[in-house]
């Protein structure tokens, strides 16, 4: 894939950006979700509303924030509210159309673990935990997930249910009284996945250019289902690539620009 002119990560971010529309209201996590949302905003979805959990509503940063609370998010926002208001009025209030999450561990039903590897009480690795994710996963009208594929990340059974996806599949959400759609899209560095309408198991619906079924299976810890009509993800356009790369270059320059300080 190295000769196609873009990296798998670039393809992932750009494919994710395409799934967003100008009238979406996105609750944005840091990392790939943040890059995808801002590429969407800078290309085909100029009026998209981006919300970060620090309280910034309708923000339009020139560089990607390192944290969810960087100053530029506030400086470019329509308004900045307190964190309790963010979680009560804006997320719980049902105003978010897309909650955009990453994952350390993911299972085939879109359940996410970012809490621990191993046992909760005696973890092998203590991960950062849920932050906003448990409620983003259930209060957003839909959830998009993005992550690079690996057998360590995409597993048959996650160690901890940080954020509920489709649980055991089927109507598990409804049985818990959760009336939002949950994960409706998974975008990896290799493919685009959507949940089966009945079982809710993530199914590959589109392979990124040059990617094979074997590659997808070799980097996934469960037996992968492929849609009968399997698409190929359109190659990134020049505009998409340039927008993403410019954004990342501006971001890198900005974050290193403060490197003089040594004390923390």
């Amino acid at each position: 894939m190295s000769d196609v002119g873009f990296t798998p990560n670039e393809m992932m971010t750009i494919a994710a950006s395409r799934a967003l529309k100008s009238d979406d209201v996105c609750f944005v996590g840091i990392g790939a979700p943040s890059a995808a949302c801002n590429v969407a905003r800078l290309t085909h979805a100029p009026d998209i509303t981006l919300i970060y959990e620090s309280g910034t509503i309708g923000t339009a940063p020139d560089v990607l924030p390192l944290s969810i609370g960087d100053g530029e998010l506030c400086e470019t926002a329509v308004t900045t509210v307190a964190v309790p208001e963010m979680f009560r009025y804006w997320l719980q209030g049902g105003r978010i159309s897309i909650g955009f999450l990453g994952a350390a561990q993911l299972d085939k039903f879109g359940n996410i673990n970012t809490t621990v590897v191993g046992d909760y009480a005696h973890p092998k690795t203590r991960l950062p935990g849920g932050g906003g994710a448990p409620e983003i996963a259930t209060s957003s009208r839909q959830v998009y997930i993005t992550m690079a594929q690996s057998k360590r990340g995409m597993v048959e059974k996650i160690d901890f249910f940080t954020s509920f996806g489709h649980g055991d599949g089927g109507d598990h959400r409804q049985r818990l009284g959760i009336d939002t759609a949950g994960p409706t899209l998974l975008i990896t560095d290799l493919a685009i996945w959507k949940p089966d309408p009945v079982t809710k198991e993530f199914t590959v619906v589109s392979l990124h250019p040059g990617v094979t079924r074997t590659q997808v299976q070799e980097t996934c810890g469960w037996v992968v289902k492929f849609a009968e009509a399997l698409d190929e993800t359109p190659t990134p356009t020049e505009l998409e690539l340039k927008t993403l790369r410019d954004l990342q270059a501006r971001t890198k320059a900005a974050h290193q620009g403060t490197a003089k300080g040594k004390a923390a």
Binding site: I30, S54, T80, A82, E135, T138, I178, G261
Partner: protein, 284 residues
């Protein structure tokens, strides 16, 4: 009545061994200078509360000051894990630390309930989430009108809260602006509040709807320019993102961590913060 005090005295008067304390700041306005003063004064057996316990709690946990941590995201924002906190949770080094873990929504609602004088917060949360089965402080109440089962968590009521803010006026009213996070709730939920500020001005001339904490809600104010470094203070200096990246390496090694603390905390003082943010102030 609020007192203007040097930071050393403000911390000594308001924090004690074994207490429950919140050093709050949601990425913005993190009260680093106050936390470093607490490290210098060597408090023990603290219960540390914070939504996003980043570098300063990594440092306090690494120094063995914490008996328990209450949090919703124990990461280095945008960078990765907190290695001193991991060492304590995974290996009990330098001491075992009890964990009470919530989601951001849970913590935000719990602070709000604390500020509102309620015993608990009620919200729609933790549905299908594993935390509900490992944290006994996540319970439920049933809506008496619809029958919906809602989450309930106890209100957060710290003995003392420390925050950093932009400025105070001479009467001791405090302004917080920009990403205001949970600063107001953390102050109002606490029995006592200590605020470090960039500066004191004669009078505010403010828009009426800004976030102002009246003087009588605050126990002590200390003037510490740069006091939130490597976090930032909106309108004064930018976030030192490089320092966050660097911390990942410092905290990865137990000895390197101790050397860093000795030099940058133990042998330093609140006055050193101003110099640390000089290169982060925007050109006018």
């Amino acid at each position: 009545m609020v007192k203007f005090l040097p930071l050393k005295e403000a911390v000594a008067e308001n924090l004690h061994d074994g207490e429950t304390v919140a050093f709050e700041g949601f990425t913005h306005l993190i009260p680093t200078a106050a936390a470093h003063e607490a490290i210098r004064q060597g408090f023990r057996d603290l219960t540390l509360i914070r939504m996003t316990p980043d570098l300063i709690y990594d440092q306090m946990i690494g120094m063995g000051m914490a008996r328990k941590v209450v949090f919703s995201y124990v990461g280095n924002p945008g960078v990765g894990l907190l290695r001193r906190a991991r060492d304590a949770i995974e290996n009990g080094f330098p001491r075992a630390v009890e964990v009470e873990e919530h989601s951001h929504a849970g913590m935000a609602n719990a602070y709000e309930a604390g500020a509102a004088g309620l015993p608990c917060a009620v919200f729609r949360g933790y549905r299908g989430a594993g935390l509900a089965s490992v944290n006994p402080n996540i319970k439920s109440v049933t809506c008496p009108f619809t029958g919906e089962v809602l989450a309930a968590v106890p209100a957060i009521r710290p003995d003392v809260t420390f925050i950093h803010a932009q400025k105070a006026d001479r009467k001791g009213n405090v302004l917080v602006e920009g990403i205001i996070g949970i600063q107001k709730e953390a102050v109002l939920a606490a029995k006592r509040a200590v605020v470090t500020v960039e500066e004191v001005v004669d009078n505010f001339d403010l828009h009426p709807n800004l976030t102002v904490l009246p003087s009588w809600t605050i126990a002590a104010i200390s003037i510490v320019p740069g006091g939130s470094h490597p976090s930032y203070t909106h309108g004064y200096y930018e976030r030192d993102n490089a320092a966050y990246l660097e911390w990942d390496e410092i905290a990865a090694d137990r000895d390197r961590f101790q050397v860093w603390i000795q030099k940058n905390v133990i042998e330093s003082s609140a006055e050193d913060f101003a110099g640390r943010v000089e290169h982060l102030r925007k050109a006018a």
